[in-house]
């Protein structure tokens, strides 16, 4: 057991799957000698060789096409798309092809591809590097979309993603890469791909969040606790599918809920969670469903990022509204 950053935990998970399965391949832009622009794949080429960990030409559609073709010849590809904003270049590959291929083959062929890509605001990147684009992908049948919010889950989930025979979009949060450390086992372990987790227990209110907003929600819960408001915080972890059982069990206890996301409010993950709650649990609620999300503008210019991204204060304020409704 060692204290590990989120990014080191992912590297450790990738090391594990490369070691366990000789058919796994890591490839993408700069992932080889350079170890990735964030060093997520650092040293892996030295350890496993250029046949297993390799750089590709700079073209995202080509990278996903490569992953599909490699799956058809028995490999287990782990492509990296350098930033989530670049997935638009591979939209047909991911949504039009990869996600549909198991279905197209009537379930007779597997496409066990794990696409790793960093996303999330707050680090003052260039444009198209930080956008929360998960909403485009969670409406894609056949594709699993997951995102860990802490180092322990990051390692366990990246291993599960690679071992899954379904295509998985594995979202890594840029701000979390080096801002938090956890105890992470050195040995292999897995964290399920389709379950949410109660990360703080409480009885007065449920806060549902994912990725960097989980930490913001925990900060908000600490602030609320000073006024004896006992908030339960759920980390979704999986954005597709959504683990509604965990959310519903919490609502049956608290009868109040706030749904938090860093992405714009329009459509998307928070809207789906709110709609699932409305469909199944409206009679269990004694206040409206609260939502905290970014405003519906294009992702902000870097200087104004912190005015735009929802933070702990926003979550705390919305939680107070709902508790005092």
């Amino acid at each position: 057991m060692a204290k590990m950053t989120y990014i080191k935990a992912i590297t450790s998970g990738l090391d594990q799957v490369l070691n366990d399965d000789p058919k796994t391949l890591i490839f993408g832009e700069d992932v080889g000698k350079n170890g990735g622009v964030f060093r997520t794949t650092v040293d892996l080429q030295d350890k496993y060789g250029e046949d297993r960990v390799f750089d590709t030409p700079l073209a995202e559609s080509g990278i996903i096409g490569l992953a599909i073709g490699l799956s058809l010849t028995g490999w287990r590809p782990i492509p990296e798309i350098q930033f989530m904003g670049f997935t638009f270049e591979a939209m047909d590959g991911i949504v039009g092809q990869l996600a549909r291929d198991h279905y197209r083959f009537g379930g007779t062929k597997n496409f066990p591809v794990t696409i790793r890509t960093p996303f999330g605001g707050g680090t003052h990147t260039a444009e198209m590097h930080a956008d929360n684009l998960e909403n485009y992908f969670v409406s894609t049948p056949g594709l699993r979309v997951v995102t860990p919010a802490n180092p322990y889950d990051a390692k366990g989930m990246v291993i599960s993603a690679v071992e899954s025979d379904d295509p998985v979009l594995f979202l890594e949060n840029l701000k979390l890469y080096r801002s938090m450390k956890d105890e992470v086992p050195d040995d292999k372990y897995t964290v399920p791909l389709d379950s949410a987790k109660v990360v703080r227990e409480g009885k007065d209110l449920t806060i549902v969040a994912y990725s960097a907003e989980v930490n913001e929600s925990l900060k908000a819960a600490d602030a609320l606790a000073k006024d004896n408001i006992d908030a339960e915080v759920i980390d979704l972890r999986s954005l597709s599918p959504i683990d509604t059982d965990t959310i519903f069990a919490s609502i049956d206890k608290t009868h109040k809920v706030v749904v938090v996301q860093e992405a714009q409010k329009m459509a998307g993950v928070g809207a789906t969670v709110a709609s699932d709650i409305a469909e199944e649990k409206i009679m269990s609620l004694d206040a409206p469903i609260g939502r905290v999300a970014a405003p519906d503008s294009v992702y902000p210019f870097a200087q104004a990022e912190n005015d735009w991204i929802p933070n702990a204060d926003d979550i705390e304020a919305k939680a107070r509204d709902i508790v005092n409704y």
Partner: protein, 371 residues
């Protein structure tokens, strides 16, 4: 040139000559049926030449029969293939069973030659999952998104290389319009960067639905596009089955030997509509344009070569056509007997491990379907 002074670079000259190495299509039998490359023709036995002709008659009959089926409402989306018999049969027959085929929607004839059944081809057109499943045959389903099959082929070829499979390549088709797609360049470039064993075909049939070849690009040939990716390429007379086969065989050998990919542009023509779904070529092209292509027909010239050699008769051909028609009618019966598809199966195939909400929907649909 200003003041007659010599410029450091003569772009006009570069532009005027850059296509030179590419615009000499390889030919063995010319449009009159005259053998222009007897040495190459001499490599082929009488049986092989007769077999080429049979395959083209088979494809032409398939075309005619599928047009009948379409008129009867017994097929769905279908892309007519008349005119492209030499290009399609000449190329696919150069590959081996272990080679991996990534077809587009006009490539059902090659899929059938590469080992799947006519009935499965019809099922694909009719919109049935069985038309996508080719058991142990090495092929994808026909790709609809033009270009996607090119990037996937680079992946298959890299997989073949990494598996160290000997004597095995990936091969793929698109049309003239397909060479305008970004994925076309990405696919050829990835295969080249990895020196992976792939053969990329461009069946230049003159038309991308209603847009003529010359509007796709100012490049004089499509073959020359490959040079930018460091890939050798060639134009071949796509109405000459012997030339297409010979070039395809050479490309396969080159790629299988570990020399990297090849691009082949076949010069052919789409006699009919883009698809059976209401396209009308008289809206965008003239009879004057069509006639020289109809005269260059691949069956006419092969028929002449074989008749001169006393290897072929009209009577023999008529009998074959009848036999093929019967085969296609039987295949249609098989296709029409395929079991009805179930939404619960679609849900089961969406994920390997169904998600909780998909599980619920499977149960809902199974309940409906059992009524």
């Amino acid at each position: 040139m200003a003041n007659g002074s010599k410029q450091i670079v003569d772009f006009a000259k570069i532009k005027a000559t850059m296509a030179d190495p590419y615009k000499h299509p390889i030919q063995v039998i010319d449009r009159e049926g005259k053998v222009v490359d007897p040495d190459t023709l001499a490599k082929y036995s009488d049986d092989q030449l007769v077999d080429f002709m049979k395959k083209m008659v088979w494809e032409r009959t398939l075309h005619e029969q599928t047009m009948n089926f379409s008129r009867q409402g017994r097929l769905g989306f279908y892309a007519p293939t008349a005119g492209e018999e030499a290009s399609e049969m000449g190329s696919v027959t150069a590959f081996k069973e272990q080679d991996f085929l990534a077809p587009a929607y006009r490539d059902l004839p090659q899929m059938i030659q590469h080992g799947t059944t006519v009935a499965k081809g019809f099922l694909w057109s009719k919109g049935h999952v069985e038309g996508n499943i080719h058991e142990n045959k090495n092929m994808l389903f026909p790709q609809i998104i033009i270009g996607a099959q090119y990037v996937e082929t680079a992946g298959v070829a890299l997989g073949i290389k990494k598996n160290e499979d000997k004597d095995r390549v990936a091969f793929v088709y698109t049309g003239d319009g397909g060479t305008s797609q970004g994925d076309w360049y990405e696919g050829v470039n990835f295969a080249s960067a990895f020196q992976a064993p792939a053969v990329f075909f461009v069946q230049n049939n003159g038309w991308a639905i209603s847009v003529p070849r010359y509007k796709q690009t100012a490049a004089e040939t499509l073959a020359q596009k490959a040079v930018a990716m460091g890939v050798p390429s060639v134009q071949v007379d796509g109405m000459d089955i012997v030339a297409v086969h010979e070039v395809s065989k050479a490309a396969r050998e080159f790629a299988a030997a570990g020399n990297g990919p090849v691009v082949i542009e076949t010069l052919t023509y789409r006699y009919g509509a883009h698809s059976s779904a209401g396209d009308d070529p008289s809206r965008y092209r003239t009879k004057e344009e069509e006639k020289p292509w109809f005269d260059a027909d691949p069956l006419i010239r092969m028929r002449k070569v074989l008749t001169d050699k006393k290897l072929w008769s009209q009577d023999q051909e008529d009998k074959l056509v009848e036999q093929y028609k019967d085969d296609f009618k039987e295949a249609m019966k098989d296709a029409e007997a395929a079991p009805a598809q179930k939404v619960s199966d679609f849900l089961k195939w969406t994920y390997n491990v169904p998600t909780p909400s998909v599980k619920k929907q499977i149960a809902e649909f199974e309940a409906k379907e059992s009524k």
